[in-house]
């Protein structure tokens, strides 16, 4: 069985940042592997270690810089990676439909049995790509999966979906399927030094739009960001100033006023 894991390098905003037009200033962004995807990679690699998956392929949409992040997936045990990028992609706002166009093209080529995605990307938090992809490629799906037990012979994935309020749904999903993976499903490993060395030798295939049979028109999405701003705080929080000792002292007073005392 072949497992495809979609991986995204996400942008994180530092403690201080400036907004330039409808974007955060590039210098105020830090990049990292999307937290939810880290768990998806781990789930894929474990399927390989358990002898269920023959190959784990990491797939990303991202600029050259993101190869650093993709190497993390390879260092943790993915066999190879595919990176889709194009100047035309850089200029567009990648809505769900456009991402699905791009991912579908690679899925057609790779023909996986199982696709694992993170529940959401930490930066834009749409939380929709996996399920939309499933519909497009005609796979079954389950969203927000925090437990996975794959029975390859029976062709089903037994999953738990984590609903709100501490309730879990137990569901049997026909494979091929797309599962969106929730944090906590496993404990993602750290990349070992050996893994990092090996990752340097693993293949990252880079594909532009033409390579996957699409044109720049295909990445023109329906969504346009027209404004970005820091939300106006409606809070009237009293910020306690002073050095740590003073601030803690003042906070202790507040706490005592509220009836806190051992």
């Amino acid at each position: 069985m072949k497992v495809l894991v979609t991986v995204k390098e996400v942008a994180e905003v530092g403690d201080d940042f400036a907004i330039e037009g409808t974007e955060i200033a590039e210098s105020d962004l830090e990049y990292d592997l999307n937290e939810w995807d880290d768990y998806a990679i781990e789930a894929g690699v474990r399927l390989a270690e358990d002898g269920i998956a023959d190959e784990v392929v990491a797939l990303t949409i991202g600029p050259e810089r993101s190869e650093e992040t993709i190497r993390m997936a390879l260092a943790k045990g993915a066999d190879r990676a595919v990176r889709v990028w194009d100047d035309a992609i850089a200029e567009a706002f990648l809505d769900v439909d456009t991402k699905v166009d791009l991912l579908e093209a690679v899925v057609d080529e790779e023909d996986p049995d199982l696709v694992l995605t993170g529940v959401q990307a930490a930066d834009d938090a749409f939380g929709a790509t996996g399920v939309a992809l499933a519909d497009r490629i005609g796979f079954e799906h389950a969203a927000v999966v925090n437990d996975l037990d794959l029975d390859a012979d029976a062709g089903v994935a037994n999953v738990r979906r984590e609903l709100e309020g501490g309730v879990e749904e137990l569901t049997e999903v026909d494979v091929p399927a797309v599962l969106t993976v929730q944090t906590g499903i496993n404990e993602p490993r750290y990349a070992s030094l050996r893994g990092i060395r090996q990752a340097q030798r693993k293949e990252i295939a880079t594909k532009d739009l033409a390579d996957i049979g699409l044109s720049p028109d295909d990445v023109e999405g329906a969504l346009t960001v027209t404004n970005m701003y820091e939300p106006e705080s409606e809070s009237d929080a009293e910020i306690i100033e002073g050095d740590p000792g003073e601030a803690a002292g003042r906070l202790a007073e507040v706490l005592r006023e509220k009836g806190v005392d051992a």
Binding site: V13, D15, D16, F17, D95, V96, D97, V100, A125, F126, A128, G130, V131, A132, D135, H141, A143, N158, R160, E162, L163, E164, G165, G166, V167, E169, L170, T171, V173, D174, T180, T183, G184, E187, A222, L223, T224, V225, T226, M228, Y229, E230, P231, S233, S235, D236, A237, E238, I239, P244, G245, A247, A248, G249, L251, V254, K258, V260, D261, A262
Partner: protein, 319 residues
């Protein structure tokens, strides 16, 4: 019956209509007014008659009941919503940004070929649809303009008030011709994630710890503080994901909802799923190094500072 401007799809679980269903009605009415047209509501599976009665609030024009299956099944929901769109041609589909909403809304939007915007905190229509949402862990808000004449939007819970007042909606049963038996994903049951050593929902004072604590060993500091203050320790999700605390200590959307007198959030950013579990606390206090952390937006008191400097001082103070 005129064509609806908005079709909102209700959510229920184990016999109970979920609060977001009533919030969808408020958002739906607003949007239907802006677009000019009716607000229709769909309720799929379970005791649709009873749910339809509860959904019959002021501003709702029609309710379509789809009496197939008992509990949420994404293929039934998808089939029902698509059939309703075919029959009634709404401009906007309004769905909950819940775990189940995200298990079918993207599929519906995809197969209907309509643009999808998730987790909306505000919507407006003036010749074009604009949706407000958050990015980068709630540090910024963006306005997104949607190009098209049909849209799908999922809305965040708690952003619109629940609709009130008795309505005069027509209630009609709708035959969506969907068969739960054909679903490729079969729900086998539910399980409550167990209660453990303490019930944080009972505590008057919570010291809640987040990823700012960095290492499992450092949790000791938080337990020391809680002991000095006579408080109970709770946490954000990553602490539980790491296996540092049991699940029953997790506050939030997928954890517990708590309403203590005092909630002291230490090294917690205040992600929306966390806030969903603690915004009802009487007094919220945050200690965080990042002055832009969204937790400060809902805090009553805050210290912008390093927990490793503040917490030991606080322990001293209480001892």
């Amino acid at each position: 019956m005129a064509d609806p401007a908005v079709l909102a799809v209700a959510e229920h679980r184990r016999g109970e209509l979920r609060e977001i269903s009533l919030e969808l009605l408020t958002a739906g009415r607003e949007l239907a007014d802006a677009i000019g047209g009716e607000l229709h509501v769909a309720v799929v599976s379970g005791d649709v008659e009873a749910h339809a009665d509860s959904l019959n609030r002021e501003g709702v024009d029609a309710i379509h009941t789809v009496a197939v299956g008992e509990e949420f099944d994404h293929s039934v929901y998808q089939g029902a919503v698509e059939a309703l769109v075919d029959a009634h041609d709404p401009t906007t589909l309004l769905l909950p940004n819940s775990v189940n909403g995200l298990d079918y809304a993207p599929a519906v939007a995809e197969s209907l070929g309509v643009p999808l915007v998730t987790d909306a905190i505000d919507v407006a229509y003036d010749d074009a649809l604009t949706v407000t949402r958050e990015q980068y862990g709630s540090k910024v808000e963006t306005t997104i303009e949607v190009d098209g004449d049909r849209f799908a939007i999922t809305i965040r819970g708690g952003e619109w008030p629940a609709a009130t007042g008795a309505g005069e909606a027509t209630i009609e049963s709708f035959d969506a011709a969907v068969d739960p038996g054909e679903s490729g994903a079969r729900v086998q049951g539910y399980e409550e994630v167990g209660d453990g050593d303490v019930d944080i929902a009972d505590a008057d004072v919570l010291v809640s710890v987040g990823r700012g604590i960095e290492e499992e060993e450092n949790l000791e500091l938080i337990f020391d503080l809680a002991e000095a203050m006579g408080a109970t320790v709770s946490s954000s999700r990553p602490i539980v994901d790491n296996g540092w605390l049991p699940k029953n200590r997790q506050v939030g959307q997928s954890g517990k909802v708590v309403t203590p007198d005092v909630y002291l959030a230490v090294g917690i950013s205040g992600a929306v799923q966390h806030v969903a579990g603690m915004k009802g606390a009487e007094t919220i206090i945050a200690v965080n190094t990042d002055p832009n952390a969204p937790i400060f937006d809902i805090a009553d008191y805050g210290i912008v500072g390093d927990l490793f400097e503040i917490v030991p001082e606080l322990i001293d103070d209480f001892e």
